[in-house]
């Protein structure tokens, strides 16, 4: 599904440069649910951004679904992102002047679907996250958990191969966090490959595999017994 080898990334800071990722090797199979953990500055978000093609790697190889991701120009990156990836952000990143269904339909717009089809699909995904009654509501009329569920529906709408979540529960209270995790686990049960960046141990425990980063290298990479979120809800 995803294969990264000898990945390096550094950011220029003034005259010197900050070496953030120092040779990462990681491969994720289809259907996995992986938590990427690490303290702040460990490079976990950078890794996710490179996987998400929001950032470019300096050195190394990255193959996604048998497609080598090289020489990314903006246009190519846009097509790959649209085709392969679904994003879930800590701060939801919904477009505030679009209502829930329009937000969910947005990736479909960029895939070139007709308006009617878009809205049908969007409504389907909204109902999947249990928000079909809220389709016409603007983001600021929704609670944090609802916003994140709209964001998940949006990430799913384009039917991505890989779901990338950057601290998906970071802005939510514990109860809502568990609801969201329960939902992500359900998606994983249905076969979606999910990558979650988090610094919360209990969230990481709800995944099937934990990758720990420290100072730009992988410290630990282990499979764990998944804690089901449903038992807390």
């Amino acid at each position: 599904m995803l294969k990264i080898s000898k990945l390096h990334k550094s950011y220029p800071i003034g005259d010197s440069s900050l070496h953030v990722l120092k040779g990462i090797d990681l491969s994720v199979d289809s259907g996995e649910m992986v938590a990427i953990m690490g303290s702040s500055g460990s490079g976990k978000s950078t890794l996710l951004n490179i996987i998400g093609m929001l950032d470019e790697l300096d050195k190394g190889e990255y193959v996604l679904d048998n497609v080598p991701i090289v020489d990314l120009n903006e246009k190519k990156a846009a097509i790959y992102r649209n085709k392969f990836l679904g994003f879930i952000f800590q701060s939801f990143n919904l477009i505030n002047y679009k209502n829930a269904i329009e937000n969910v339909a947005l990736p479909l717009y960029y895939q070139g679907f007709k308006r009617k089809e878009r809205l049908e699909k969007a409504l389907f995904h909204l109902s999947k996250v249990g928000l079909s009654d809220w389709a016409k509501h603007l983001p600021n009329e929704l609670s944090g958990g609802q916003k994140q569920r709209v964001a998940i529906a949006r990430a799913l709408a384009a039917d991505p191969k890989l779901l990338l979540a950057d601290e998906p529960t970071g802005a939510l209270d514990t109860k809502t966090s568990h609801e969201i995790m329960e939902f992500l686990q359900q998606l994983n049960d249905e076969g979606k490959t999910i990558l979650i960046v988090t610094h919360e141990e209990d969230i990481a425990d709800m995944c099937k595999r934990i990758v720990r980063l420290k100072d730009g290298v992988i410290m630990e990479d282990k499979f764990v017994t998944q804690v089901r979120a449903s038992q807390y809800v």
Binding site: L54, E74, A78, I95, P107, Y110, R115, A158
Partner: protein, 409 residues
């Protein structure tokens, strides 16, 4: 090109940020409003300048006579020079190929009446060519013709206002009008752009007037237009040579400025032409200036909008928006705001000009208006202006890296 979804996206974004869109449109609306008013006033100014000349053909030459001021060839100063029919023939003989139209004129003041209505008017006795020299537009009936001249018929052509004054609601053609006790048949009614005075005029065949008022062949003035193929210098040469020939013919001293006066409109119309060009250049410079200010204003606000929407653009990119689609959204938003605001300014400007027309016309600005071709030009210019205004911000937006945009909170 036409993508309904793109337009939906743009209108949604404009609509959801209404205040911002209206504010950014304001600069352009104001710029166009100023431009239209300025343009209209300048047009009025031009019309005022041109007004003095629309009355007569711009290639007119007028020959008038007076009293000699210098003794010459044994003749005393103070002699009256009188033009006659033969002088018109003389000019035609000498300059036949350079003359386009020629007419003699006799002026009289008459008291005219029809039934119970009575008023005083100016009478001009003329040759048929006079119609073209004075740019007289016959609206009904006919003008003085050659057979009137030969037969000395007692017919008149009356101005629109004479018609209104005397004939009220009835049609004057074929009726008999009484001028100083003599009945004349009205054969035509005319209009003239030269103003109300020109439309309070009565025209009569030259020979008729000569027979009735004095039984002689005297004329007061000879008007002619030179061949329009002559250029400016040739036209001036022509009138100079004509002056010399006439002075010689009447034994007037070459330096005598009063006895024979030849006025050539070529001179004056050229000066007016220069003034009109100067006004046009002035308007174009100011207009371009205000328009550029408007474009810069929109561009500025669009850059601000892009900054404000950085995050949204980042999200769109993360969801798979191509740089091209980001550019189109920003560009078209700028174009739409510019065009709509521009039209609002245009319409406001036209309305203000219309409302202010009476006041402006009192202040010597004749018909201060903008023509419809300006609307077409404006459409084109506004779309172009919007594209220019949107280009930089759009480029800036398309360069936004989603990672930077999303980090931005």
């Amino acid at each position: 090109m036409f993508d309904i979804d793109l337009w939906r996206e743009i209108f949604q974004s404009i609509n959801k940020n209404r205040t911002r869109s209206i504010l950014s449109g304001f600069t352009v609306a104001f710029a166009i409003l100023l431009f239209v008013i300025l343009f209209g006033i300048a047009n009025g100014l031009k019309n005022t300048f041109a007004e003095g000349f629309v009355d007569d053909a711009s290639n007119s030459i007028f020959v008038r006579t007076g009293f000699t001021t210098k003794a010459h060839k044994g003749l005393q100063a103070g002699r009256r020079i009188q033009l006659k029919n033969e002088d018109q023939d003389f000019i035609l003989d000498e300059y036949g190929n350079k003359v386009q139209y020629i007419t003699s004129r006799i002026y009289k003041s008459v008291s005219a009446s029809y039934k119970n209505e009575q008023n005083n008017y100016q009478l001009r006795a003329v040759n048929p060519d006079h119609q073209f020299l004075e740019k007289t537009q016959v609206v009904s009936g006919r003008y003085v013709n050659q057979s009137d001249i030969i037969n000395k018929t007692k017919v008149v052509v009356i101005g629109r206002l004479v018609d209104e004054d005397l004939f009220l609601k009835t049609t004057p053609i074929g009726k008999y009008i009484n001028l100083n006790g003599i009945q004349y048949k009205v054969v035509g009614v005319f209009e003239d752009d030269g103003g109300d005075n020109e439309e309070r005029m009565i025209y009569m065949p030259l020979t008729t007037a000569q027979q009735i008022y004095g039984n002689n062949d005297y004329v007061d003035q000879i008007n002619l237009t030179y061949n329009p193929d002559l250029d400016f210098d040739e036209a001036l040469d022509f009138s100079r040579s004509l002056t010399d020939k006439l002075k010689d013919r009447f034994s007037v001293a070459p330096m005598d400025q009063r006895a024979i006066r030849v006025r050539n409109l070529a001179n004056e119309s050229q000066q007016v032409g220069i003034i009109e060009v100067a006004i046009s250049i002035f308007v174009i410079i100011i207009g371009l200036g205000t328009l550029i200010a408007g474009i810069v204003g929109i561009s500025n606000i669009m850059i601000f909008i892009v900054k404000e929407r950085t995050k949204e653009i980042g999200v769109r990119k993360a969801l798979g928006a191509s740089p091209k689609s980001i550019v189109s959204i920003i560009m078209f938003e700028a174009i739409i705001i510019t065009t709509i605001a521009g039209y609002v300014g245009l319409i406001l400007g036209v309305v203000i000009l219309k409302l202010a027309k009476p006041i402006l016309e009192e202040n010597f600005l004749k018909n201060p208006s903008v023509d419809s071709s300006l609307v077409l030009t404006a459409t084109f210019v506004l779309i172009l202006a919007g594209a220019i205004a949107g280009y930089l911000p759009a480029k800036k937006a398309s360069k936004i890296k989603p990672i930077v945009a999303l980090r931005d909170d």
